[in-house]
Amino acid sequence: MGQHVLLIEDEPNIIEAIRFFLSRDGWKVSCHSDGASAVAEVARVSPDVVVLDVMLPNRSGFDILKDLRADPATQATPVLMLTAKGQTKDRERAAHLGTSAFMTKPFSNADLREMLRSLIQA
């Protein structure tokens, strides 16, 4: 089994597409859709990398990232923020909170693959 990615996203067809092509690439893919329990899920599955949406039910991706960076167990886990909120202020906020990378929707599968590879190798 390859590297483990946790996809925190609430759009079911995005989840299905990403899960499909990353699985075929050899990734182990876990998915989670609820913002409120996302931090606990990261701690529970200990992924190699997290793909995190911003606008999630019950809790924002920014708040989740902040908690991940405050917890010694997850603070080193690479986090890729994948979001429709692509304004400069959103990028700056994500960078300030400690995101490892930032991608905006819509995205290409090839770019997402490449970005995840680079995060794992970093």
Binding site: N13, I14, A17, P106, N109
Partner: protein, 441 residues
């Protein structure tokens, strides 16, 4: 100080009308004819004793020589010059400009007004784009669907050995997402293309719900029966509920409506309300429910012809209106902030303390009505979570209950600052677009 630009042309006009020669008037006023000529052509200022003497000689009240449309022009032109200081407009010769070129002065004033109006509109639209939660949520929804479609389409295009089951599955996803995308895009276009009140159409889930409820005065007869209709069926048959978000909002509201109706059955509640003179606290005690539920129930009673409708406004902790049922005497704002003097906001500052007040709308003077307001916190995240505040204001028509002496002098309120005619309002945030006003109390 009187301004000569307002006077010179009027002096000349009045003198000519009386058949008085320039030299004769100059002699009476004790000035030379050439100086009077300069005054009449707005090239010299005139004020004080000389102006009084000339007014007396022309048998006209001094104020008639110094007031008029030009006074407004003077202020507007000064404002125009101040707004573009780099043009170095000859501010000290505004009087002369108005007097010699009244048509051009009117044109500049008209343009200044138009620019101010357009600037206000641009600011409003920019604010709407930046802060409109519906627009933000809709754009996010569209981008999410586009992302799903793009990612799925790439898989179909790039995966040569994709088995039939997955192909069908991804095609089904594409179909569903493209439908949602089309709906979302159409909704956005509707929203962005509508402009100007009152023809804005329904632009948010909240407005869809309110349009649906307004059709029957917020009374849903189908949910009053012992065996009520299915809420999903009610929603499905209402063409006003177009978006998924609007339908979800309606579902939540109607489920709450049904709970209220079960706890406060229509016949018993109507009788009790009349007996209690529509006092929500009495009814809350009588039916063992919270005051806010009584507000909702009162606002859902069938309208009685000739009495007027019972209004209801609910806002969240940020003051944003989350439900609006307007009345004949209390129009409610569609966009932006409401009147800061509403008891709704007083209640917000004192959670759990009831507010009872007589109100009078500034646009409908002499027609006081009674209102009740209350706010309360809830803790959806448990004791460790944040307190979420909600406030509500009930508006009772005078045909139902007249405000008595115990509630004091009616408080003058408005709808929102921009359309409020009240002048000297202590809570005004921005100027009104209305030119005439009423005194506040």
């Amino acid at each position: 100080m009187p301004r000569t630009a307002l006077t010179g042309s009027r002096i000349r006009e009045r003198r000519t009308m009386l058949g008085l020669k320039q030299a004769d008037l100059a002699r009476i006023a004790g000035i030379s004819p050439s100086y009077l000529n300069l005054i009449e052509h707005n090239r010299r200022r005139i004020a004080g004793k000389l102006l009084g003497t000339i007014a007396q000689a022309l048998s006209v009240d001094l104020s008639l020589l110094t007031q008029g449309a030009e006074a407004e022009h003077l202020a507007q032109l000064t404002e125009a010059a101040a707004s573009l200081p780099d043009t170095n407009a000859e501010v000290d010769r505004i009087d002369e400009f108005i007097g010699r070129f009244p048509g051009w002065a009117g044109l500049v004033v008209g343009q200044q007004r138009r620019i101010a109006g357009l600037e206000q509109r641009v600011a409003g639209l920019a604010d709407r784009l930046a802060h409109d939660p519906f627009l933000s949520a809709s754009l996010h929804e569209v981008l999410s669907k586009v992302s799903a479609i793009q990612s799925t389409a790439s898989i179909l295009e790039e995966t040569e050995d994709l088995d039939l089951v997955w192909q069908k599955r991804f095609h089904r996803n594409l179909h569903a997402d493209s439908q949602k995308l089309a709906e979302g895009a159409a909704s956005l276009v509707d929203y962005l293309e509508t402009e100007g009140e009152p023809d804005l159409g329904m632009v948010s889930p909240q407005e869809e719900l309110e349009a649906s409820l307004n059709r029957t005065g917020f009374h849903v007869a189908a949910l009053e029966r012992a065996l009520p209709d299915s809420i999903d069926r009610i929603i499905a048959h209402d063409p006003r509920l177009k978006s998924d978000a609007g339908k979800d909002r309606a579902r939540a509201y109607l489920e709450q409506y049904r709970r209220d109706a079960t706890q406060m059955p229509l016949a018993a509640f109507s009788d009790a309300a009349a007996a209690a003179r529509y006092d929500p606290a009495v009814l809350s005690h009588r039916f063992g429910t919270d005051v806010l539920a009584v507000f909702r129930r009162l606002a859902s009673l069938p309208e009685v012809a000739g009495v007027g409708r019972i209004g209801l406004v609910i806002c969240d902790g940020a003051g944003a209106l989350t439900l609006r049922k307007a009345t004949e005497l209390m129009p409610l704002p569609r966009f932006g902030a409401a009147c800061a003097l509403w008891p709704l906001y007083q209640a917000m500052s004192r959670p759990m303390a009831p507010v009872r007040a007589a109100l009078e709308h500034a646009g409908r003077p002499g027609q006081p009505f009674l209102s009740y307001a209350i706010s309360h916190p809830s803790y959806p995240g448990g004791f460790s979570g944040p307190a979420v505040f909600e406030a509500a204001m009930l508006i009772l028509p005078p045909g139902l209950v007249e405000p008595d002496a115990t509630v004091g002098v009616p408080q003058l309120v408005g709808t929102s600052c921009r359309v409020c005619p009240a002048v000297d309002c202590p809570a005004r945030r921005e100027p009104s677009v209305l030119s005439e006003g009423f005194d506040t109390r």
